[in-house]
Symmetry: C2
Subunit: 444 residues, 2 copies
């Protein structure tokens, strides 16, 4: 049962944002990978030495950077591989997160979905190739660990968790009236009129119910996702490449397939369209707006950054990189109905809208067996479980999990060799729920 679900979920894996064909082919086959210890990017010595040994050099140009296990180093070092733009934290003092560390989490046991073999929380960290994980309870750090080459001063790729951050900003602009969710994308960005997005509503883009002739099937080398990635920066352009040179150029080429508004279909390009709409109406790209509206108000420890394409457009669909604790600050602000450090950073109505969720029937059509009964709203995954948990998810195991009832936020940065979150959901979902139960039963 576990195996069946796992395989189905894996086949349907559509969370992947940017990735090379090689790692996808791996994900689609039954390749086994070295475990977390054997693939530890610190002990493997990537990019250590002057110069590093030839077989420990990671380069952007040859695409090696996104192949496992080198990818385990890359996700903590995107800035060294491609151009980026800052999400300034501002110049004020960081506001430390309070700590109330617990020792009872590591030994917590749970049973992975589809398995009969219990596992401890501590074991789950290695099983999910965790690079860093922090658990907040009532805003205090109760658990925090770093592995591999990530540390508290480092930054890690949020991958598709970027979408939830950008979706939140989109919903904020809807809430303050700058954007009208019922308007069509072409109303905001006329350049997209002839593309599939032209007659989609902003709401359909925000909830990813657009009908697009765009495949994120990473096992298919002809899938459109490769063209999107090549147009921007995550993928190096092959010799003689003559395709679109920017994200914006690529988005104009996306053609319709099926009807908008009928089914949830997770496609990264929706977020890049949202990023374009945001830039057009605010005069600020998503990195600038994130700094101004949110990051500078979080008491963040570090500036974050976005990868950018050749004309400086931030990769709204997956380009954010942050410190682990700073993403926890963001999650805690969301959990706290948009309030943080005495400020209402995101309107409560936006959080209410996310938590209420999206169209469950549309979501069901996408067939996420491990997320049955869930929905997708404003680029957040909403479980509709008894705790009302909702989350941001990113390829290779990135997760921001907000459990309102348990007053808990978990942020995990990871470098799982299997792209799809569905691959780690059987371990992740019960593990996170077990911590929530623990915190509710024994809050102190």
């Amino acid at each position: 049962m576990f195996k069946k679900n796992f395989k189905q979920a894996r086949t349907r894996a559509v969370f992947l944002t940017t990735c090379l064909a090689a790692s996808v082919v791996n994900a689609a086959t039954d390749t086994t990978y070295p475990d977390a210890a054997a693939s530890n990017p610190a002990t493997m010595g990537w990019m250590v030495g002057s110069p590093p040994p030839p077989d420990r050099i990671i380069r952007f140009a040859d695409g090696s950077y996104f192949k496992f296990p080198a990818m385990r180093w890359s996700v903590s070092n995107f800035r060294q591989l491609m151009p980026t733009t800052n999400v300034s934290r501002g110049l004020n003092a960081p506001v430390p997160l309070a700590q109330a560390l617990r020792t009872d989490i590591d030994k917590l046991t749970f049973t992975p979905l589809g398995s009969k073999q219990p596992m401890t929380w501590e074991q789950s960290l290695a099983a999910n190739y965790t690079d860093g994980i922090v658990v907040l309870h009532r805003g205090k750090i109760v658990y925090e660990r770093y592995f591999g080459v990530l540390n508290p001063q480092g930054q890690h790729a949020a991958m598709s968790m970027t979408k939830s951050v950008v979706g939140t900003m989109g919903a904020m602009l809807v809430a303050d009236g700058t954007l009208d969710a019922n308007k069509h994308i072409a109303d905001y960005v006329p350049e997209l009129a002839k593309s599939a997005f032209g007659n989609a509503t902003l709401r359909q883009v925000l909830d990813m119910t657009t009908g697009l002739d765009y495949s994120e099937d990473y096992a298919d080398p002809d899938a459109e996702v490769w063209k999107h990635s090549m147009a921007g920066n995550p993928l190096p352009k092959p010799k003689g490449y003559t395709g679109p040179q920017t994200y914006m150029e690529y988005l104009q080429t996306v053609q319709p397939l099926g009807e908008h508004g009928k089914a949830f279909a997770y496609k990264t390009v929706n977020t890049d369209v949202l990023g374009w709409v945001i830039a057009r109406v605010t005069g600020r790209n998503v990195a600038q707006l994130l700094s101004e509206k949110i990051w500078q108000r979080l008491g963040a420890e570090q500036s974050a950054y976005f990868t950018v394409d050749s004309i400086g457009t931030p990769f709204a669909g997956g380009g954010l990189n942050t410190g682990l604790r700073d993403m926890a600050r963001f999650g805690e602000m969301i959990r706290n109905e948009g309030q943080y450090l005495g400020q209402q950073i995101v309107p409560k109505s936006v959080i209410d809208d996310i938590r209420a969720g999206g169209d469950k029937a549309a979501f069901a059509k996408a067939g996420y067996d491990l997320l049955k009964g869930g929905s997708y709203r404003d680029m957040w995954w909403v479980t509709h479980n008894p705790d009302g948990a909702f989350m941001a998810r990113g390829v290779y195991g990135q997760r921001t999990y907000i459990d309102p009832k348990a007053e808990m936020v978990i942020v995990r940065y990871a470098s799982n060799p299997v792209a799809s979150n569905a691959a780690n959901d059987p371990v992740t979902i019960p593990a996170f729920e077990a911590v929530a139960q623990l915190l509710m039963k024994h809050p102190d």
Copy 2:
């Protein structure tokens, strides 16, 4: 007289670190440029819009980024153009610089060298295409201005001021016995044994008295400086490029010319060699070491960053980018004999060594008419003027000027169309000296 000196100095201009042939050709001819207001990168609207208008897009790949006036935007946005690595400020609260702002500096007058026409300080800022300037007196900000696209939250290319930062770290390692200035480069980096650097001493590299068949004459398209820049990242590689792919590969190709130790000859490659030596002996590249030994101890407001080549090697000769005030913190620490915030960050003996200066006779041979009687030590320019002023200098007008007698530090970030500092020295030198005089006469 002014014209003659200016032309000579310009011809000999050897401060240029990274630059495209186009701007050099400009520098070598008598091209006149739009003034600071007409070339203001903010009002020109570079990279504003989604997408920006075609004639306001700045790209790395076509080299447009380093041509004036686009360069005025680029020097505040290197991170958007190429891969970089962080110089972490750490996670502690920044320590604000005290302020004691004065209103008597703007109207201060002085006479540019070789001119009879007095100029006000305020006029000098535009004359030098200033992007940001801060004056510290006894550690307090007495004057601070930003222009164009630089602001207190931004970061600007330090260009060759990077050399003085790296040179300081080199001198620190000599002071603590990690390095022996009398040893040969090949003793530390055997890969350089067959290059010109092999039999040069570390001291000769630190003071740039190596004899190298390496031209930094930017008017010559065959000059070696272009090859160095292409091997690393500042210059895009032309189609079909088959040369060295990294700074380290390039350095091994540099051939000797003349004797080491006889004459000062300003050549960027010396600093990259020093960076390699530092990396080899400490196991940390210059960005990592700068963070650990200095940046985290300055109470810096922002993390700084280095541009890196395709294997992550920081550009030691010119790749540092910092906030304006953070470079002022660095300068103030140097002025204060290495002490800052109650810590001895750089040994006093290192500062003493820099201030005592290098070989004046060797320096004289290089023919810097506007720096007569000066010397070069540990990659700092030492004036030996009555105040004992010394400085870091970077192409296009970057300057960190330390006047011990006046208890003054000036840091200027700029984007002067003419590469050589010699072009702005006739205005800069008397302007900075005038402020020093003012502060000594009227300290409060």
